[in-house]
């Protein structure tokens, strides 16, 4: 590096480590709180070193949950997992075939379809809360997995990303496949899918996190406790009020809610960064 001086280097590292510590601090406090009994948390100030109740708290959360909510966190995590996987796979599946149609075929209403998909970019669920709720209610999809997942799987971003990927595939590859006697579906399955697999994986990482972290939508359409996702569960536990809040359980649940997406990001960092950059193109 240009103009490197030893003391400057050390200072840089100090600043960065400080940044990392500040960013990590809230999680550390949460982790510590999830390892104590409630009584310990009600003292002032609360302890800043881990206690001995870690295992008990997590087991209690996973199997029994908080008193205010009638579902154990284990079930909630399962619901979150179903929703996250459903959204990720659903979005990838319908987007990749839509992109395939748009890129590899010429047909009437092609541009109409393209713009219709584009429009979904401008209509996040936050801006059409009530009427969308009404549609889902009319279709009898409240309190179902289908209702949680299906309305969220249309995706302009994913469709455009796959379109971009397909556009970079040389035309000759499809022509070679045609000469080899492969029809469109065979080409899609034998050639296009395998060569897009890293893009699919990268997108999956992003969408899994997106799906796991969905909050407003499940908040609207689930009233049945057995369908609560973990994020809704946390909200319901908090809603019990400061007096009855079982902070040690809430904190354990919060840690559990963070664990899967954070693990995915950290362990698949390369794919995650690729996915992030590609979906923003």
């Amino acid at each position: 590096m240009v103009g490197a001086r030893p003391w400057l280097n050390i200072l840089t590292h100090v600043i960065l480590i400080l940044g990392v510590l500040i960013v990590a601090f809230p999680i550390y406090v949460t982790f510590v709180a999830s390892s104590h009994e409630l009584e310990a948390l009600l003292q002032t100030p609360i302890p800043l070193v881990p206690g001995g109740e870690l295992l008990n708290n997590y087991t209690a959360a996973l199997t029994k949950g908080a008193k205010a909510v009638g579902a154990p966190v284990g079930v909630m995590m399962l619901n979150s997992l179903v929703m996250a996987l459903g959204i990720a796979f659903g979005k990838i599946a319908i987007s990749i075939i839509a992109a395939f149609a748009i890129v590899y075929f010429r047909f009437r209403f092609r541009m109409t379809a393209f713009w219709m998909i584009f429009i979904t970019l401008m209509l996040p669920v936050e801006v059409r809360i009530l009427p969308t709720y009404k549609v889902v209610a009319d279709l009898g999809m409240l309190d179902t997995y289908g209702g949680l997942i299906i309305p969220l799987i249309a995706s302009a971003t994913a469709t455009f990303m796959f379109r971009q990927v397909f556009l970079t595939v040389p035309d000759e590859l499809a022509e070679a496949a045609r000469i080899d006697g492969a029809g469109p579906l065979r080409f899609f399955w034998d050639v296009l899918l395998p060569i897009s697999r890293t893009n699919i994986a990268a997108l999956f990482v992003i969408l899994f996190i997106y799906g796991w972290n969905q909050y407003l939508w499940p908040l609207l359409i689930t009233t049945d406790e057995s369908l609560y996702t973990i994020l809704i569960g946390i909200n319901r536990m908090l809603a019990a009020g400061d007096d009855q809040a079982e902070w040690q359980i809430i904190m354990a649940t919060t840690m559990l809610a963070m664990l899967p997406p954070v693990l995915v990001v950290v362990s698949m960092q390369r794919l995650f960064v690729k996915g992030l950059v590609e979906t923003e193109k």
Binding site: E175, A176, A177, I179, D180
Partner: protein, 365 residues
């Protein structure tokens, strides 16, 4: 195996016509090279034969079948693409086997055919297990040909297959393709913009310019008797010199615009006496002469601008008299020449080509 027949083949995109009616019969086992500058429509023509482009007008038949409306896979052809178009995620073996699998051939048959093609192309077992990414350019080229060979088609179509290789490898692969085609005896159509490739590979050449066939013929025929100005300028390297000129009143001399004149074969251009023409003389057909030999022969005086010594021969760039147009002369061996020197040049009368400058057609047969 089969011949290929093109009758009045036309291609248009919307109102823009790009191929203006091509007629050509390629006989069984022939190696035809379609050559022309980029954008002349040669790839489009090949892709129409392959079935990758629809035909706007005319008829294409392969063997005794009209294939206008057949899918590429039904035309019994194989194609080698410029960028090879190998499936990047499949091994070399599977790249070659894929088309056969789709065709539903038995595993043992597929294996036999792939192994045989691999043997012909000297692709060893280790290579068959690799993916295209792990291959060199020349190896990819071979695999692309292997994919064509295993199909045992009636015709091979090559779309500039050597343009992505470096110069040395290109020469080597050119020889391999020539040998392969000779050994297999399969009708082949080969598209290139490189006239050296065209001259060395083809039994016959089809010169295409702006969607029009300029000439079809054997390489030497095109070299010796270019039918048009375009062919004259395109075939041969360095390119033929094309000079503005006029046929003398007696029809026996061509007067170059620089003021010098050269004799023509007696009688051949009598009908065109006095006409303004474009004279074409290949660089290698000039001969340096002593000034006193000029009697009756006629010489043109070349003012030397630049001399390039290539060892085996010498390229002299210069101009005739007052004409500022640059021309190239190729002389054998090493020559001790200086810039601004004036060299008397003669040309055998029968090696002078004359063209109508407006239509571009050859004059005097």
């Amino acid at each position: 195996m089969a011949g290929i027949n093109l009758r009045g083949v036309v291609k248009a995109y919307g109102k823009t016509q790009v191929i203006h009616g091509v007629d050509c019969t390629i006989v069984d086992g022939e190696f035809l090279v379609i050559v022309g500058p980029s954008g002349c429509g040669k790839s489009t023509l090949l892709r129409m034969i392959a079935g990758l482009e629809l035909i706007t007008g005319g008829e294409i038949s392969i063997g005794d079948r009209v294939v206008n409306d057949l899918e590429p896979a039904e035309r019994d052809i194989a194609m080698v693409f410029q960028n090879y178009a190998l499936y990047p995620h499949m091994t070399v073996y599977n790249n070659m086997a894929y088309g056969l699998k789709i065709r539903g051939l038995a595993k043992a048959d597929i294996d036999a055919r792939v192994r045989k093609a691999a043997e012909i192309l000297a692709l060893d077992d280790d290579l068959l297990r690799r993916t295209p990414r792990q291959l060199s350019g020349g190896q990819r080229q071979r695999v692309a040909m292997g994919r064509a060979i295993v199909r045992q088609p009636s015709a091979f179509l090559f779309d500039e297959p050597l343009s992505n290789l470096d110069a040395k490898l290109r020469v080597q692969m050119r020889l391999e393709i020539k040998k392969l085609q000779k050994d297999l005896g399969i009708t082949s159509v080969y598209v290139t913009h490189d006239q050296v490739e065209a001259m060395t590979l083809g039994h016959r050449l089809l010169v295409l310019n702006a969607g029009i066939v300029e000439q079809i013929g054997a390489p030497i025929e095109l070299y010796e008797h270019p039918a048009t100005l375009f062919v004259a300028g395109f075939i041969g390297s360095p390119a033929m010199n094309l000079l503005p000129a006029r046929i003398g009143e007696d029809g026996g001399r061509v007067e170059l615009s620089g003021g010098d004149g050269l004799p023509l074969p007696p009688g051949r251009f009598a009908a065109h006496a006095g006409r303004t023409v474009t004279a074409g003389i290949r660089p290698e057909h000039f001969e340096m002469v002593a000034d006193d030999q000029s009697n009756g022969h006629g010489v043109a005086r070349l003012a030397v601008d630049v001399v390039e010594q290539l060892g085996a021969d010498t390229l002299v760039h210069g101009h005739f008299g007052t004409d500022r147009g640059v021309l190239t002369v190729r002389l054998n061996g090493t020559q001790d020449l200086q810039s601004r020197q004036v060299l008397p040049m003669s040309v055998q009368p029968e090696l002078i080509h004359l063209f109508d400058p407006d239509s571009g057609r050859r004059l005097g047969g």
